[in-house]
Amino acid sequence: MTVVFGIFLLTLLVITALGIVRTRNLFVAVMLLGIFSLLIAINFFILDAADVALTEAAVGAGISTVLFLGALALTSERERLGTRHRWLSLAVVASATLVVLYATFDKPRFGDPGAPVHQHVAPWYLEKTPEYIGIPNVVTAVLGSFRGYDTLGEVFVVFTAGIGVLFLLSARRGGARRGAPDYRAPGERDASGIGLREHVIPRVVGRLVVPFILLFALYVQFHGEYGPGGGFQAGALFAAAFILYALVEGEDRTLAALPQSWLHALMVGGALLYGGVGLAGIALGSNFLDYSVLAADAVAGQHLGIILIELGVGMTVTGTLLSIFHAFAARDRA
């Protein structure tokens, strides 16, 4: 039954992707991309990757859609010219498809436990996690402890991308509009920032849902060692809650609740917290990012270290995603 459902979902994915590429209306393409993300998240769930499904649903269907819409508001919704060199591109893509399809016949069959990918370190992770780390969720253990360097790098990539967006979008507009003063009356200016406050249904539903999203984000953050969850997912959920609030109540109120300076502090503080936990390992006489020495008992130390670095990850992801969102939204109103 699951196999049939899986095949159905995969086929839907291909159909959605074709729709995304064919439509000339970019708004439709972005909406379809959100559906595509939800479908692929369900697929991940069927494939036993609960953590990944949670991340994809929050990031792909939620935040990436909002960012694309923000960018569309600043550019244009219609794709004017479609394709160039269509037949040449199709020929290149078709030949590449054939080559890669041919290569798939050498792949191990779906779900084969004897596949090379399952022979290397993965069994060791599954076997040793209860002994060394003492937490049930092996994904969190690998993410936070065994491959802590990797995750540290990823956090800094997120951080750097956030800085890049802030740099790009805080530059002043070029051309005729440069420095044009805002002649509108203060009341009028405020009217542009009220979001959907005049629409009853989005406002009521939004207000009802936001606290629960925040609560769920906290649960995902601190329950990540036991069930699917962790800093990346929680950060995306926190950001989604505030973005929803901003859409319903307007930018100004959101920035009053969580000012930009706090967001910057979250971005920097999270990355520093992660690095600091790593350095604490050195200071206590072990290696960088070795949490065993953080507490008297090695397993308790690992547990503490993972909680701290997950907190750092969550802070950086929340701060970065929200800063990026505000940067796009502020550009929209400038």
């Binding site: 069959r109 599954l126 070029g174």
Partner: protein, 118 residues
Amino acid sequence: MELLGLYHYWVFVVLLMIGFYAVVAKVNLIKKLIGLSLFQSAVFLLYITMSKVSGGTAPIVLPGMVDPVYSNPLPQVLILTAIVVGISTLALGLGIVVRIKEEYGTTEEHEIQEIDRR
């Protein structure tokens, strides 16, 4: 049934190439970024497909399970972080497109090239 075991990989290839087509053939910069997102999602699907073990369950070790089979946690970890990094780089790309639109007044690739040639 033997070939059905490859269906996931075929979907991966098709999605990858649909994304690739959007990147090379489409003129609009935002559409190119959408194509890049599709391409990226296809790679995620490949990794997660490879992590699946038949009859397995999510890699969360609970006491009291009799002879459990877990799917591979490693590809899941890699993709989990890749998704969040992906959205950050996507935001960077969108930021660049927005700045291009402000400076050139268009997001269509060859119009930008024409303005540059002048």
